[in-house]
Amino acid sequence: MGYILTKEGFDAVVDALKEQYRLYAPVLKKGEGRFTDTDVVRYDFVETAGQIELEKKSDYAFKELLTPLSETLFFFTEDAVKPADADLRPVIVFLRSCDLHAVKRLDQIYLANGKDRDWFYQRIRDCVRFALIGCGRTCADGFCVDMGSNRSTEGYMFSLDEVDGKILSDVKAPELEGLFAEKAERAGDVTPRYVTENSVRVSVPETVPNSIYKAGLWDEYSTRCIGCGRCNFVCPTCTCYTMQDVYYTDNGKVGERRRVASSCMVDGYTDVAGGGQYRKSCGERMRFKVLHKVYDYRRRFGYDMCVGCGRCDAVCPEYISFSACINKLDRAVKEAQSNG
C-alpha cells in the first residue's frame, strides 16, 4: 500500500519506528572528508528523519553494519573461547536499490559459499531489515541500469522518496501499514522512484578468454594505482577480510581474535607463509578485482557481483574508473575474439 506523508508525518513514523528498531542510514559527516573542510557521507545510526542524507549517495556503503570494518569475533584463553557480544537489537537499514541488490551478494558469500554459514554474519543479518531510498535521478558515477540493479520491487519494509516536499512511501511490511496509515496525509499509489538511464554505460563481456588474463590492458594500472584499497572498502559487495589476533598476555595465550575488512588491492593480501606473494603489481590486482566483479563471480554463482553503484569510481584518489575499465575489458575481449 502506498502513502503520502508530510515531512512531519514521516518524522512521526521515524519516531515510532525507533521504539522497536535502531535506524541505520547515510549521514553527512561534516568535516570528516579526506581534505580540510570536506564532508563524507557514510552510514551511522540516526535518531531523527532529518539526519538521513536523502540527496547524496553515501561514499561508504551500508555493509559496515553487516561486515564491520573491524569486528572482534571472540576472546580466547589457552583452552576456552568465548564469542564477543554483539548488539542484536533489530535494525532498519536505509539504502538505495543498488545496495539492496548488494545484500544478496553479501548473503551469497557469507551464507551460501561452502557448506558453513558465517555465524557472526548470520547473527547480525538476522536482525536487519531494509527501507528503500528511491532514486529520482541517476548519480554521477553509477551504472546500475546496465548491471540490472536500478530497481528493487521486494526485500524492503517500506520505501521513501522525497517529492515536492512530501514523503512518498510504498509500504511492504504488513505490520507497518497501521503506523503509516495513521501518520500519512493520505493513501495513494506509490512506486519507489528508480532510474532507467545512467550517464555511465558499461558493456560487460559474456565470456573472458584466458588470454585476457595476461593481456596488456592491465599494465597501465600498475603505474596508475597506488594500491590503497578504497575501491574495495567502499564497495557494497566486497566481502574479503583478514584475521587479526591480539594478545593480552606475553605468552600469547590470552587475547581476542578479530577480523578486519580486507582488500585485494592492498599489499599483503596474497602473502603466504613462505614469503611468496601472488599478485605483486597493481595491474594484476586490478585484473583480479575487475574480473571477479563482472565475470568470475558470475561463473560461480550465475549473476554478476558488481551492482554498478559507482562508489569505487567516486572514491579513487587516482581517478581510476572501474566502469571505464569494464569497457576496456569488453573491447579487449571483442578484439581477442575477432582475432580468433
Partner: protein, 264 residues
C-alpha cells in the same frame, strides 16, 4: 543461535614435536576424526595468529602438522612443548584421493614444504602392492633443508625415490639439480595411464607439469595442490580465491584440467 559456529577452534594437545631442520618442525596433534592427506587445519599460533597448515601425517588419534619457521609467522610455536595445547580448526579442503594411486604407475613430485601435503600420499604408495611402480621425486634447496629424513630412508627402500637438492656443498654425494631434471628419465611404461601429483612452489609446479606433459602424461591424470593464505577455510575471507574457485573449498587439490585455467 543453535547453529554451530565454525570459527570457534578446539584445543588439541601436542603429543610430540619432531624437529626436521633449523626451520621446520612437525607437531603431532591429538585429533580423532576424518582427515585426508592434502587437507589443512587453521592453527592458532600463539603471538602470531591463525595460519593454514597442511596435514603432513595421519595416524590413530593424531594428525601431523609440519610448520615452517618463516618470518614472524611461525616462530613462537616452536617454543611450545609436548603436553601443551594449540587451538585448531578443520580439517578443511578436499585433500588427495589416495585410492586413485593404489594401482598402476604413479609419479609424485614434491618440492620443499610441498612434501608435507603429500607425505601421507607417499607413505600410502610405499605400502601398495607394486611399490616399484611408484616414483617419487623430492627436491629441497640444500641438504640442510631436508624434511622427513626418516621417511626418506623408508621410502628409498620401498619405492623408486629420487632425492635431489638445488645446490649442495662440494663433496655432496647425492643428486644435485631441480626436480624437473629427473622427469624425462622416469621409467614409465604406460604414460597415457600413469597418475602424477605435483606440489611445491608455483614455479616448480609450473615447470614440473610442463615436463610431465612433454613426457606424454595426460592432463586429466595430473594433480596439483595450491598454497594460498586462507584466513577462514570456509569460503568467506576471499584470500584464496583464484578465478571462480576457492582453494579452501574446491581445493587445495585440483586436477590439472581445472587448475590450468586458474590464473592468479
Amino acid at each position: 543461535m543453535a547453529e554451530k559456529n565454525p570459527y570457534i577452534p578446539f584445543p588439541s594437545e601436542i603429543l610430540e614435536v619432531i624437529r626436521h631442520t633449523r626451520k621446520e618442525y612437525t607437531f603431532r596433534m591429538a585429533f580423532t576424526g576424518e582427515v585426508r592427506p592434502g587437507q589443512f587445519f587453521e592453527v592458532s599460533i600463539p603471538k602470531y595468529g591463525e595460519a593454514p597448515i597442511s596435514v603432513s601425517g595421519i595416524g590413530d588419534g593424531f594428525v601431523d602438522l609440519t610448520i615452517r619457521k618463516v618470518g614472524r609467522v611461525t616462530n613462537e610455536v616452536f617454543e611450545r612443548y609436548k603436553g601443551q595445547k594449540l587451538m585448531l580448526r578443520g580439517p578443511y579442503g578436499n585433500g588427495f584421493d589416495v585410492s586413485l594411486y593404489e594401482k598402476g604407475e604413479v609419479v609424485v613430485i614434491a618440492g620443499g614444504t610441498g612434501v608435507s601435503p603429500v607425505r601421507g600420499v607417499i607413505s600410502a604408495l610405499a605400502g601398495t602392492e607394486e611399490p616399484r611402480d611408484k616414483h617419487v621425486i623430492v627436491g629441497f634447496k640444500s641438504p640442510d633443508d631436508m624434511l622427513f629424513r626418516d621417511d626418506l630412508k623408508t621410502w628409498a627402500e620401498k619405492l623408486d625415490l629420487i632425492l635431489t637438492v638445488d645446490g649442495a656443498p662440494e663433496g655432496y654425494a647425492g643428486n644435485i639439480g631441480l626436480v624437473t631434471k629427473f622427469i624425462p628419465g622416469l621409467p614409465i611404461r604406460d604414460v597415457a595411464e600413469a597418475q602424477a601429483v605435483v606440489v611445491g612452489p608455483p614455479a616448480m609446479m609450473r615447470f614440473s607439469v610442463m615436463g610431465l606433459l612433454e613426457k606424454g602424461f595426460q592432463e586429466k591424470n595430473i594433480w596439483v595442490s595450491q598454497e594460498r593464505k586462507m584466513c577462514c577455510g570456509l569460503g568467506k575471507c576471499g584470500h584464496c580465491r583464484i578465478g571462480e574457485k576457492y582453494v579452501c573449498l574446491d581445493g587445495p587439490v585440483f586436477n590439472y584440467t581445472e587448475s590450468k585455467d586458474m590464473i592468479d
